[in-house]
Structures are given as C-alpha cells and as structure tokens.
C-alpha cells in the first residue's frame, strides 16, 4: 500500500515541476489540467474523496477553462494590435 501513496507523491512532484518548466502557455494549460487530475488522484489515494471531487471539477475543468479563455483573449488582442500597427505603417 505504501508504494501507492509514495508513487502518487512522486507523480505530484513530476507534474508540478513540469507545470512550472513549461514556458509555452498553451501547452501549460494542458499540463495544468493533468496536474489537477494528479492532485485529485492524490486526494483519492489519501482517503479524501470530498476534496478529490472538488479538485476534479475545479482543478481539472474549471481553472484550465478560464486559463484557455484568457489565453484566447490575449491572442486576439495581440492580433488586433498588430493589425493596428500595420494600418499605421501604411498611412
């Protein structure tokens, strides 16, 4: 049994490190979702089903979704800015 718990902790370490070291924000939101799932798994393994449920809905779905939306917004803003620059460049 002990191996299960220790293994999950190791997974958490790996996923957390990966999340920080992923510098591209779009792939990072995928890693975030993964990290959320692994945390939920950790809560399950450590006998905390209530927390696991909370973590699944928030950490693996809710939060990555908001991150994706924010990234989409940033990209759109970026494109608009570039277009504006081009327009200014022409005139």
């Amino acid at each position: 049994m002990a191996i299960l718990q220790l293994g999950v902790l190791a997974l958490v370490v790996i996923a957390g490190t990966a999340l920080v070291l992923t510098r591209d924000v779009r792939s990072q939101s995928i890693v975030l979702s993964l990290f959320g799932l692994i945390l939920a798994l950790m809560f399950m393994v450590f006998q905390a089903p209530d927390v696991a449920l909370s973590q699944i809905v928030v950490g693996a779905v809710g939060l990555p979704l908001m991150v994706l939306l924010a990234i989409a917004k940033l990209r759109r803003d970026h494109q608009e800015l570039e277009q504006e620059h081009k327009r200014k460049g022409r005139t």
Binding site: D50, L53, S54, V57, V58, V61, G62, L69, K73, D77
Partner: protein, 250 residues
C-alpha cells in the same frame, strides 16, 4: 537576464531548505494529542448531528464560520473580476462569431436544441444531487456548485455566445449569487431568534441517512451551491464576453 534576481532567489532557496529541515523534523507530541481534533469530530459527528459525512459536518457546522469567510472570498473575487473586466463589457455590443457559430446561431435546429437539453439536463441533475447529498456522501455545495456551473458551459459550447447570453440573464445571475452569499449569513442569523450564537444549528436534525438530516447543514450547503455556481457562471460570462467581443476604443 535578471542575474541578480536569480542569485538572490537561490540564496533564499538554500536558506529555505534549511528552514524546512529544521521545521519539519519533530512530531514530538504523543499521537493522541496530535490526533485529538480528528478523533473528536469523527466520534461526535454522527451522535451530535445525525449526518454521515464528517467533512461536511466540519465544513458547514463545526467550522462553518471559516466556510462563511471562504465563501465571501469567492464572492469578492468574482466581484473583483467583474470590476476589472467591466470597461469592455459596458462599451461593446459587437460580438465576434466564427462561421460555424453564426450558422448555428441563425437556424439552430430543434434536433440540436434537444441534443443540448440532453446534455445539460443530466449535468443539472447530477449537480443538484451532489449539492443536496453533501451531508451523506462526498460532495456538497462547493463541488455541486461547480458542476452546475459547467452546465452553462455546455450551453455555450452547443449554442454559441449570443444564445448563451440570451438564455442566462447577467443581472439575474448576479442576484442569485448575492442570494447565495446573503443566504448563508441569514441562515446563520436564524440562531439569533433562539438567542443562540451565530451559526448555531437550531433546526431539527431529522433522521440519519436521509436528505433532511443535519438541520441547517443542508440549507447552508444549498446556499453555498447557489453562490458557487452563480459565481462561476459569472466568471465564465465575464471571460467569454471579454474573449468574444471586439476591441473597443480606449
């Protein structure tokens, strides 16, 4: 780049490692002292509150006041996000739609509508189930609330933002959110009628293993569910609006 900053940080991190080593070693106290809070809750929950999920008992009764504070953190963060994103929201009505969305928007077939209903309905049922069974099985207002909020997401995915906006009135959700937050406080104030301290569980505790068990616990769970789901929908709303609307004049 930022070499001084990194040097500073690594010096700090080394120190931190030492602190962790010194701070984490002991656990000197006997086990029954370290375990007493857990033991008290585990032995008393069923006897005192007639409910089977000790976590919900702590959340909504023994330490309900913490949950009140946490709920207001959520409330305030949602208000703050709305505040920050308001400029865009007020200014623009022009909504960007890609082609697929537009076609969906123009003539959404009944079959499509049915399909979405088929997706949303189970979500709603599941969310409400989780909210209301918090005192019996894992779950409760927080988890169920987020599940309910994802039902709104399905509407958006299936129907696009314009329909989403039409179906869910922004101000109505704002009122629901305030109702959830205020409802928690109001339930806590019920105790004043009996001259008992704030948040005392004054309602009949009901029969164990049933939905009505736990007195105010179920009610607080409901209020929390309302607050959390409305809060998350508002966040979704704000971010969608921000993402899908055109850049205005600054």
């Amino acid at each position: 780049m930022h070499r001084p900053r990194l040097v500073l940080f690594f010096a700090g991190a080394m120190g931190f490692v030492c602190l962790f080593v010194f701070g984490f070693t002991p656990l000197r106290h006997p086990r029954d002292i370290r375990n007493r809070y857990a033991q008290q809750i585990n032995t008393r929950t069923f006897a005192e509150r007639n409910i089977t999920d000790a976590v919900s008992a702590v959340n909504f009764d023994y330490r309900g006041f913490d949950t009140l504070g946490e709920e207001f953190i959520l409330f305030v963060s949602v208000l703050g996000s709305l505040l920050l994103l308001r400029m865009e929201a007020e200014r623009k009505e022009g909504i960007l739609m890609d082609a697929a969305e537009r076609s969906r928007d123009l003539g959404a077939s009944d079959a499509m509508g049915l399909w979405i209903l088929a997706m949303v309905a189970p979500k709603l049922v599941f969310g409400i189930y989780i909210v209301t069974h918090g005192q019996l099985t894992p779950g409760g207002g927080f988890q169920g609330g987020v599940i309910l909020a994802t039902a709104a997401l399905i509407i958006y995915c299936g129907k696009g933002f314009p329909i989403f906006r039409k179906m869910l009135s922004h101000s109505a959700i704002e009122i629901l959110e305030a109702l959830g937050a205020g409802g928690f406080v109001a339930i806590g104030m019920l105790a004043f009628l009996w001259h008992r301290p704030f948040l005392t569980n004054v309602l009949p505790l009901g029969k164990a293993h049933e939905l009505t068990s736990g007195g105010t616990i179920a009610l607080i769970s409901l209020a929390t569910g309302l607050e959390v789901s409305a809060g998350f929908v508002l966040l979704l709303y704000a971010f969608l609006q921000e993402t899908l609307t055109e850049r205005g004049e600054d």
